[in-house]
């Protein structure tokens, strides 16, 4: 008997909008893994990391952006990093890997006045000369834990728990509405 087929479904069904020059969209089908550095094998981990990414593990708030493998790496705990993007080729290189892809909802927000909207909910200092392109911070917005990542001059990615995706989207959307 044929087995049923399971469909993948994104948390916000690919939401996208533009309000007053600020665009907001869900980034669908993201792939995220966490990798942890073993306590007793620091050197090996670093060596593997350098082999893969050509660089030492980045330290917060700086993230590492790579073309090949096409991914971004940033530190989420003292001995833990997130790799976002092309993760399938990386998994096997590390001892402690946890798939995080489905735990998060990802939004991208961009536009000229994007900071005016973000400052309504984001406690991090986003002055463009302080929070540089490639910087990220894990923090809290409207009582929801989240990660904010600056990917371009006026573009930010926001990650928050997938179960409260709708509340998180509402928080970000309201911020845009309130300043436009």
């Amino acid at each position: 008997m044929a087995k049923p087929t399971l469909q993948s479904r994104s948390r916000l069904a690919g939401f996208a909008t533009e309000i007053g020059g600020i665009s907001l969209r869900e980034i669908c089908d993201i792939s995220i893994i966490s990798i942890a550095k073993p306590l007793h094998d620091h050197a090996l981990f670093d060596q593997n990391f350098i082999e893969l990414f050509n660089q030492a593990p980045p330290l917060a708030p700086t993230s590492l952006r790579l073309k090949s493998p096409n991914c971004r790496v940033f530190q989420t705990q003292i001995d833990q990093w997130f790799v976002i993007g092309e993760t399938n080729t990386i998994q096997d290189k590390f001892d402690y890997v946890t798939d995080q892809s489905d735990g998060w909802v990802a939004l991208e927000i961009s536009g000229e006045n994007v900071i005016l909207a973000l400052e309504r909910i984001c406690p991090i200092d986003l002055h463009t000369d302080k929070f540089l392109i490639g910087h990220f911070a894990r923090t809290m917005m409207e009582h929801m834990g989240c990660i904010i990542l600056r990917t371009d001059t006026q573009t930010y990615q926001l990650f928050s728990a997938s179960s409260s995706a709708e509340s998180f989207l509402h928080a970000v959307e309201t911020s845009i509405h309130n300043v436009t």
Binding site: P4, T5, L6, D95, Y96, G103, R120, P123, D125, H170
Partner: protein
């Protein structure tokens, strides 16, 4: 309607007239007016009633210190009580009414209380209304409550929305008067990130109300030009209409920006925004507030602060009266006189308490030195003043210049105490102010313009340097210092008449005298006994005066009498603004499970479980009572197969070479030797030996475990595990990460669960031999979708929990239901889950409630004393292990038709319901469709020895009292044969 008191000039826009309504009268003013200035322009000065004696009250000030002119602004749900007319920006269509009177404003029936004032002195209520006892709530208090209070809330939900935000800066400048602007100029040029905030809608502070020159141009022009320059700097953020409310730790300030309060409608945008400003340094340039003098009957409408009279004339182009007189104890009274004359306002007399040569002369103005005002007349408007030299002067406006109090408020918010400066007769900020805050200008006691600007310039340079900015060597803006000298004069002694200190709360010098007589002379006692400074103005104009009067009565200098400090907020702030977006459903984030959409389609009833919404039951057509649905779901599960979304359980991924050892430490029961491919139930204790969570943990690999926690404790368990990992076991190689949201997890329970699962798993042998009870594995389903399968059972049935990546969760529940049709697969909600776990005797938060031990729960044997684990040691304290502690039992009604109630207490048959006779309590109850009657779990003293006994379940609060039988908590399949089957 003509604006009879409107002068020429002023910073109002005569091209933008505004029509507004006050107490039903339609009036006109201009954009740039405040409600107060527009009322004065229209010749209206009676605007309210005082709190206690309901005395007529007029406009007293021109700023946020206003104690008198409080109105109800706007209508219906938008009505805002206690709004200061003096800071309410006029807009077309503004609607306001006066408040705190019964009958019309000019004939307040409550004014009769004024006649009783000899009996209503400070604290009179502490001495009476004591008899008979019951009359307090029934008679006295309702009368007091009805007459107390000020404005009235609409009672309707606030129709406006609010927002909050975060701002960061190197330098926060509080106040955009001369000192603030001078500071901002320096900081802007230095390249610092600057925020300059001012509560006013027109920036410039006193420069808009007084006549000065700065850098050779009129000071108000200098202010607007400076602001225009500041606008050009990308590193300066100017926030008008923004009150800095409070100074909190480490340079955090709260500020309220009024976004739409100057408009008729907010058009769906936030009315106000509460900013949290994170500053490296702050400069307080908040100016000074003028204060009054306590003289007999000094509370009549028309008696105003002198600076306010000037402000109305110069800034608003309004004469506060036709015949203005001035009462002063310092030079600013004379400066004000000059400014008024220049503005074309008629002055009748200047009365100065100081016996010095007059600092100036004005033609046609009576000048009296060394003279006091000893009485006034005019009930609803000032008519005349009587002087100590016997003169009576007809006047409709008395401008009182009692000296200036620097606005030290924010320096006190961290309990800094200001210090007294005799030369200016005022409290100034001391060193004990918030870290990182500097004070400049009048706020720091530099009351004259030149000094204020100079101090601001210098201080800002120093502050910037201290945080690493290079400042250019520039000269401060040039301004001269006006003459200023004061001889303190606080109150006119008089036995007969009352002299007001706190105008809103009706605190007079007589009250202060009484307070002193009765021993309430500590400043805090004075305030608390008389209510001095407790009104909506927080004593901005009255605190120093009251303290000074007390000092005189005690014959002590002011510093020895005490100081008075201010608390946040600087001015009152709407609760809506502090609440921000947290309204209705937005109070807390909503977490939804992967089957939420599908469950909604099934008409599921949802229940809040923490922030989660979970399906509580799935009503079917024709079911009229929730119990029908729940009973059906239970029976269907026990008969065939049921499916429940258990995604909300906390999930923690644990990896590392020491993962097993770590689990062995944080769980009370042994975990070292759990085989790969097996799940074990675990009990977690706090270090005090009390249980706080339980769950199952699966060993997926030698160094890899997956833990589940209860829904409620997921965050707490993770936090405590990180504590154990980082603080107690720092040498263990173990790594944690939450995966709660990453997996959709379904319980599939019932005799047909294996058959149903078999239809979707890829190549996984589900037989008892290969995949027995408590087995687990990483598998694939539906042709390659990764999944985890756990053979665990909360229902007591043959059961599994199946997890897939969240993105497939919606699809999986649909697939399971479709494939399960042949078994009549039934979705069940949290109620059925609960019924089955009670039947089975599993404990949840009702039992693991933070006060119960493993012993109480019947799991004392699980707490290993052969290893070090959190809580094991203290769980053995004498009182926790004595023979008489409560034990978990099952309970059944003796009369099977009785329903048990959670929260009932247990008593021996025939014993009285008293604290001493309490045997325990019912924790969980359910109607069991399996057994056909109500069942319960509960704690009974020594209950494990009492199976079969009959006791009372006493539920007095619901008027029930029934006999119940103690049984084993494991009522369904106590041997566990079914779940192992």
């Amino acid at each position: 309607m003509t604006q009879i008191n409107r002068l020429s000039g002023g910073k109002i826009n005569r091209d933008k007239p505004c029509t507004f309504t006050f107490n039903g009268k339609i009036l006109q003013g201009y954009q740039g007016d405040t409600l107060a200035s527009a009322l004065l322009a229209n010749g209206i000065n009676l605007v309210g009633r005082s709190f206690k004696y309901h005395r007529p009250r007029g406009i007293f000030s021109a700023g946020s210190e206003e104690p008198n002119a409080l109105v109800q602004l706007r209508q219906a749900a938008s009505n805002e009580p206690n709004t200061r007319a003096t800071v309410t920006e006029l807009y077309d269509g503004l609607y306001a009414t006066s408040q705190n009177h019964r009958g019309p404003l000019n004939f307040d029936l409550m004014a009769a209380t004024d006649l009783l004032s000899p009996f209503l002195g400070a604290g009179f209520y502490y001495k009476t209304f004591m008899w008979p006892r019951a009359f307090w709530e029934k008679l006295y208090e309702p009368i007091i409550r009805a007459s107390a209070g000020l404005g009235k809330l609409s009672g309707e939900e606030d129709p406006d929305i609010y927002d909050k935000g975060f701002l960061h800066c190197d330098l926060l400048i509080i106040g955009a008067g001369p000192a603030g602007l001078a500071a901002a100029r320096v900081a802007a040029h230095a390249g610092a990130q600057v925020i300059i905030a001012d509560e006013d809608f027109l920036l410039g502070g006193r420069l808009n109300s007084e006549r000065h020159e700065i850098d050779g141009i009129p000071a108000d022009q200098w202010a607007s030009e400076t602001l225009a320059q500041l606008q050009e700097f990308g590193n300066v953020r100017i926030l008008p209409r923004t009150t800095v409310l409070g100074a909190f730790d480490h340079g955090i300030y709260s500020a309220l920006e009024r976004k739409t309060d100057h408009q008729l409608h907010s058009n769906g945008k936030p009315r106000q925004v509460l900013w949290r400003i994170y500053s490296k340094r702050a400069i307080l340039a908040s100016g000074a507030t003028e204060r009054s003098i306590a003289f007999p009957n000094n509370d009549r409408p028309g008696i105003m602060l002198a600076g306010a009279v000037r402000s109305y004339a110069k800034r608003y182009g309004v004469a506060a009266g036709k015949q203005i007189s001035i009462f002063t104890n310092n030079h600013s009274g004379w400066q004000i006189a000059q400014d008024l004359v220049d503005q074309g306002v008629k002055i009748t007399a200047i009365v100065d308490t100081r016996d010095i040569p007059p600092p100036a002369t004005f033609s046609g103005v009576a000048i009296m030195m060394g003279t006091q005002v000893v009485n006034t007349t005019g009930r609803k408007a000032l008519r005349s003043i009587t002087l100590s030299n016997g003169h009576v002067i007809q006047t409709d406006c008395l401008a009182v210049a009692g000296g200036w109090s620097p606005n030290v408020h924010l320096t006190c918010h961290q309990r800094g105490r200001p210090e007294w400066r005799n030369d200016i007769a005022a409290f100034v900020p001391s060193k004990s102010r918030p870290v990182g805050m500097s004070v400049v200008g009048a706020a720091n006691g530099d009351l004259t313009l030149g000094a204020a600007i100079k101090s601001a310039h210098q201080t800002t340079n120093a502050v910037l340097k201290s945080i690493g900015f290079q400042t250019k060597r520039t000269q401060p803006p040039r301004a001269i210092d006006e003459a200023f000298a004061i001889t303190p004069f606080w109150h006119v002694a008089n036995q007969k008449h009352r002299a007001w200190v706190d105008l809103q709360n009706d605190v007079t010098t007589k009250d202060i005298k009484l307070s002193q007589t009765e021993g309430f002379h500590a400043v805090e006692h004075l305030k608390r006994y008389t209510t001095l400074g407790m009104a909506t103005d927080q004593g901005k104009t009255s605190n120093v005066l009251g303290l000074a009067v007390m000092a005189e009565m005690l014959g002590k200098p002011i510093p020895e009498t005490g100081t008075t400090i201010f608390r946040p907020p600087y001015t009152p702030v709407a609760m809506g603004a502090l609440g921000g977006r947290a309204r209705d459903k937005n109070y807390a984030p909503i977490r939804k499970t992967p089957s939420h959409q599908w469950a909604s389609e099934q008409n599921a009833v949802f229940v809040e479980t923490g922030n989660w919404l979970r399906a509580q039951w799935y009503p079917k057509l024709g079911e009229t009572h929730w119990r029908e649905s729940v009973d059906r779901e239970v029976l269907a599960t026990r008969k065939s197969v049921g499916i429940c979304d258990v995604t909300t359980l906390g999930k923690i991924d644990i990896q590392g070479t020491d993962a097993a050892a770590f689990l062995n430490f944080i769980y009370a029961n042994p975990f070292l030797k759990v085989p790969v491919g097996k799940v074990r139930y675990g009990l977690m204790l706090r270090e005090d030996g009390i249980c706080y969570d339980d769950g199952t943990t699966a060993r997926l690999g030698e160094n890899h475990f997956v833990m589940t926690t209860t829904t409620a404790n997921a965050v707490l368990v993770y936090r405590r595990m990180e504590f154990a990992r980082q603080c107690l076991c720092p040498e263990m190689d173990v790594h944690l990460i939450s995966t709660t949201d990453a997996w959709a997890q379904y319980a599939i329970a019932g005799p047909n669960s294996r058959a149903l699962l078999a239809k979707i798993v890829d190549n996984q042998d589900l037989s008892n031999e290969v995949f027995p009870f408590m087995a687990c594995g990483e598998i694939t389903i539906c042709n390659g979708i990764p999944a985890r399968l756990f053979r665990i059972s909360f229902s007591g049935e043959l059961a599994y929990e199946l997890a897939v990546p969240t993105r497939y969760g919606d699809s999986l529940i649909r697939a399971l239901m479709a494939e399960g049709q042949e078994f009549d697969a039934t979705p069940y909600g949290t109620e059925a889950l609960s019924v089955m776990r009670i039947e089975k005797g599993h404990v949840v938060g009702n039992e693991i409630n933070g006060t119960t031990t493993a012993l109480n729960l019947g799991m004392g044997g699980m707490v290993s004393q052969k290893k070090d684990s959190i809580g094991a040691t203290l769980s053995q304290r004498e009182v926790l292990i004595n023979d008489n502690v409560v034990r978990l039992v099952g309970l059944q009604p003796v009369d099977k038709s009785h329903a048990l109630q959670a929260g009932a207490h247990f008593l021996e048959l025939g014993s009285k319901p008293t604290t001493q006779n309490d045997l325990g309590w019912m924790t969980s109850v359910a109607h069991s469709p399996t057994f056909g009657h109500s069942i319960g779990l509960g704690f009974v003293k020594n209950g494990h020895m009492r199976h079969g006994d009959i006791i009372r379940a006493w539920d007095g609060i619901r008027g029930r009292d029934i006999p119940v039988k103690i049984v084993s908590p494991h009522m369904y399949d106590p041997e566990g044969a079914i779940q192992r089957g």
